[in-house]
Amino acid sequence: MEAILRVENLTYTYSAGTPFEHSAVEGINLTVLPGEFLGIIGHTGSGKSTLMQQLNGLLKPTAGRIYLDGRDIWSEPKEIRKVRFRVGLVFQYPEYQLFEETVYKDIAFGPTNMGLSDGEIDRRVRDAAAFVGLSEEQLFSSPFELSGGQKRRAAIAGVIAMEPEVLILDEPTAGLDPRGRDRILEQIRDYHREKGTTVILVSHSMEEIARNVDRIAVLHRGHTYMDGTPAQVFARAEELMSIGLDVPQVTKVALALREKGVDVDPSVCTVEALRQELLTLKGGGGAC
């Protein structure tokens, strides 16, 4: 399948040419297929946000290229705004970017910038609000009256409303309570399933990534450290732990079981999968 996003040898250096020079991303190669749900995971400061801001042209790579649908996004620097409409990026802590009088107007900011008709804007705003679970009443209240989690959802809706082909979410659940976190993830998952959009989810929680994505790329000090399906990645649990990343609880249980001599697949990453695994081992059927 033709890749929707292809990253070649991407390097980004902050404050180049000063004593504070610092390479946040070094020679990264990455391919994203259409309709894929990709997880990016890495330690604090591993360059995740820097990489993501280059994918939609907010940062210009120091070296390397980014192809969107086979076209270099910087081939026409004047057209970079169009790239931003096609690759929607939800920033880390996006609630701080809300500014309009009503949530409705704020969500409409992106579509309005795209120059769409009023009817189309209205449809998109309502669709996006429905996806993130904002009620009609909330839609016409001030964004500053919402709770933290609701603000976060309003901000995510603001990007979804542009109906980008690739939706990037940079740590959408940071600083939320477990329930708020699960709800947002669930809504993102639904959105991905219904729209078939390519989604890139950045996170440093393994649990979160494990349960949602098709493929995981692990970043470490600006390099891609691993790239594969969750099962492939978690099969190398020890390496992950050696670079300071956690593995899902279930994987830890499976690892512990193996040490005790139970022959389970160490790469299971959901409770359901481990259950199945154990049931098969027991000889199928019956409760555990």
């Binding site: 907010l58 705004r81 701080y96 970017q97 500053f144």
Partner: protein
């Protein structure tokens, strides 16, 4: 990109200049300015240049950083030079077409004006390059303490100053972030006429103000939680103390200023 603005950026270091008491440095800069404004002719400017060069060498502040500080005033310097060059009355330099309008005194005035501005800015920048903002405000707080008798709220003013200095980088960073976030939603800050551009700032300014107020609020709470109750009876963790070197440097700068006054009188 907004990060490139320097506001008297501090260059950490451990040189004799860095180690001086910040109060000494402030007083010296004041004396230096007095000395500079008394300078009249080559001899006195030469003395000032020698003193400044010595301080710069001792401080190990890169020359590039110093010249960067001068960048915003290039135009003013050029303008002053031209004005003095062409509009000072006196004997023309020669009677060739353009040179006819330039008087000999004009050349000297222009040269000394440019020198004066450059030396003034470099000298004061050296202070901010070698003294951390916190040390500066602490020093100001103490130097201005006598004004408290006149009911000038010195402590409040210096506190405001150090808070502002502390939050400028934060606000710049925040502005950068908000700008990126709005650009990701297709905001366009670069095209359109003046009104459109001004309007394009709203999506940046509103979140920026909201967060600035939130920060101010949080800071106030945090300070109260730690029992901050104004400057009354407040003591410092690191007490500023003059040492032998400070007295020596102070004495030299007093000498410098006095010497310059004499040189100025003599017209050297």
């Amino acid at each position: 990109m907004l990060k490139d603005i320097t506001l008297g950026q501090y260059f950490p270091g451990d040189t004799p200049v860095h180690r001086l008491d910040p109060r000494t440095k402030i007083i010296c800069v004041v004396l230096y300015i007095v000395a500079l404004f008394c300078a009249k002719w080559f001899v006195s400017y030469g003395v000032i240049i020698a003193v400044l060069t010595l301080c710069v060498c001792l401080s190990r502040v890169p020359l590039r950083a110093l010249s960067r500080g001068l960048r915003p005033v290039y135009i003013i310097v050029a303008f002053t030079a031209l004005m003095n060059l062409f509009f000072t009355a006196g004997e023309p330099v020669s009677d060739l077409p353009v040179l006819r309008y330039i008087s000999q005194t004009g050349v000297y005035t222009a040269l000394f004006m440019v020198l004066r501005i450059v030396l003034l800015i470099t000298g004061t920048f050296l202070l901010t390059y070698t003294t951390s903002p916190i040390a500066l405000t602490d020093a100001l707080d103490q130097l201005l303490a006598p004004l408290k008798k006149l009911r000038v709220p010195v402590h409040e003013l210096t506190l405001m100053m150090s808070l502002a200095l502390r939050f400028i980088p934060t606000l710049i960073e925040e502005t950068d972030k908000i700008m990126s976030a709005q650009k990701a939603r297709g905001a366009d800050f670069e095209s359109g006429n003046l009104i459109r551009r001004a309007k394009a700032l709203i999506p940046i300014l509103v979140p920026l103000f909201v967060s600035a107020f939130r920060r101010a609020d949080e800071l106030a709470t945090a300070m109260e939680c730690r029992c901050y109750h104004g400057g009354e009876g407040r003591t410092a963790l690191y007490v500023l103390r003059y040492r032998a070197a400070d007295y020596a440097v102070l004495a030299s700068f007093v000498l410098l200023a006095a010497g310059q006054i004499v040189l100025g009188r003599l017209g050297w």
